[in-house]
């Protein structure tokens, strides 16, 4: 297990594709791991304090990582615990393993993830589990649990997996969704625009688009894409 702690406040955001894979490397290698500090490429050890305890495939990120982007991107296994908040693109294209964020997550959490689990104890921002710019399909498998609130455009083009939001979600949930489940325990705005499949369950209030048909299964649509998505109360 490796514990990583920022040495200082970062003047501009840092991009560090930290994955549990790092825990399998020697301290030397970990410290030399390349991260981007604005337009400078620097060594991890220059910006972060690093300590290693045992061989577990696990990263513990201590402190505020809200200015560090791409944490856990493309990770395949192992675990990352963030004892604070994370910056954008956390868990992007993740294939497996687990990320626990004790604070908040920024935009693009778990984009196009195809496996694994992300748990956010605080709030998440926008575009959770979505398709990245120009891509056809968002999250395909895995689970994202947000214990607080989430922002807008959650689960856009989602094609599998599960997103659970214990609090409220923002606007445009599950737009162009194809498969998978989004569960919102609070309220949200528009739901299911051009939804083709999958299910959105909401406990609180939400705004249904005028293109869904009421059936026994719930609201089915979006009729504009001959969709068979289901929107229903939880």
């Amino acid at each position: 297990m490796i514990v990583i702690k920022p040495k200082k406040y970062f003047e501009v955001c840092v991009e560090a594709e930290l994955t549990p894979e790092l825990a399998t490397k020697s301290m030397e290698e970990v410290k030399k791991f390349k991260v981007y500090y604005g337009n400078r490429v620097v060594e991890l050890g220059e910006l972060f304090e690093v300590t290693k305890t045992g061989d577990e495939k696990k990263l513990v990120l201590e402190g505020d990582f809200s200015r560090v982007k791409w944490i856990g991107a493309r990770m395949a296994d192992g675990e990352i615990i963030v004892r604070g908040s994370v910056g954008a693109n956390c868990g992007a294209f993740m294939k497996g393993g687990r990320i626990v964020i004790e604070g908040n997550a920024d935009d693009w959490l778990g984009i196009e993830m195809s496996g694994g689990e992300i748990i956010v104890k605080g709030n998440a921002a926008n575009l959770v589990g979505c398709a990245y710019y120009g891509d056809a399909v968002g999250m395909t498998a895995g689970k994202i649990l947000i214990e607080g609130n989430a922002g807008n455009y959650i689960g856009e083009k989602m094609n599998g997996g599960e997103i659970v939001i214990k609090g409220n979600a923002g606007d445009f949930v599950g737009t162009e969704m194809r498969a998978g489940v989004i569960e919102i325990h609070g309220s949200c705005g528009f739901v299911g625009g051009d939804m083709r499949g999958g299910e959105i369950r909401i406990k609180g209030k939400f705004e249904l688009l005028p293109t869904f048909r009421k059936t026994e299964k719930g609201w089915v649509g979006d009729v504009n894409v001959k969709g068979e998505g289901i929107v229903k109360s939880l």
Binding site: C13, Y37, G38, N39, A88, D171, G189, D194, L209, N224
Partner: protein, 418 residues
Amino acid sequence: MEDVICTFCGSVCDDGEFDAEKKKVKKFCRLGSAKFSEKERIKAPMVDGKEVSYETAIEKAAEILVNAKKPLLYGWASTANEAIRLGVILAEKLRGVYDQCASVCHAPGTLAVIEEGLPGATLGSVKNRADVVVFWGSNPAEAHPRHGMRYSISAKGLLIKDRKQRKVVVVDVRPTKTAKMADLFIQVKPGYDYAVISALRAILSGNADVVPSDVGGVAKEKLLQLAEMMKNAKYGAIFYGLGVTQSRGRDRNVENAIKLIQLLNRTTRWVIWPMRGHYNVVGAGEVPAWEVGYQYAIDFSRGYPRFSPAEFSAVEVLKRKDCDAALIVASDPAAHFPAAAVKHLKQIPVIQIDPFPNMTTLLAKVVIPSAVYGIEAEGTAYRMDGIPLRVKKILETSYWTDEKILEEILKRVEKLKG
């Protein structure tokens, strides 16, 4: 001088007549006339408020930019392509961020293009063929005053000869000046454009039965009426504005509208186009697109371009305090950005290149005055529909052009970087 080209709004009218003696322009609208009227200028280059030579200001600017970990290069919508190209190359060289005014204007439309494409036409096509024109969240009467006369509402075209042969629809949240000229005005509840467009698509695709009696404050009968009008048009055009790009839904509104256009083209002809604001905001996106692949919100920190408005648009970069210097060209973010973004701009060294003093001048460390394209300098600009026009130099000036200033900064930067 005839055929003078206006460098104010995205209509880029090119039929002006300039009287060099009186320094007045004829034929243009109030905005164009204001553009060509004499006004207060930044007198000389300044560093920390002190007047200096161009060379000194440029030296200082280059120093700031080279030392920055993440310089933001923003603006570009009111300058010529030649300057923009140098700006993009400078951003690439500095490994900074390039963003342009569209990101607080029509860039959500660009996100929609990424999703669905852009089924459009030049303004000349609309003028010649369009029998139905819809202004959706756009208000040319105030933002593009001659658009209606030259291209859309009352333009005299080949197939559509005048206003009588054309139906004009305005969809907006309030009865704008443009709405007064319309045959049909549809007032939507703010934030419900997406739902209204979805309802129209449902009606047009034979699912009118699911549409409730009221959508976003619009009665179903009215939606049926609009759908009927759209279906019966021989050649229709939607011109959308900031009413949809700056409100709830943003790019999703435009995306939905494009899907509506796709559907309409199965039975008749329809096109859609954004009412772009600044005279060359199209160039500010097209130039980086061919140079580095993207239109805006481009980060070069890794030595190659990456696109992400969520991270690299100027407002996000500033709000996140994710830049440590800024070069502002032909724009005034201090006036036009939300306070939360301006706050960081006040904390970092700012270099401004602009002909006119504005709010950004007040917070800039280095101020470099420049010539006005279309009046004092020649260069290429793209009208809102992408039609290229060469704006003219009609008056002499001692001010340097943006192009020259940027060329010199680029040279200094290259030298400093070794």
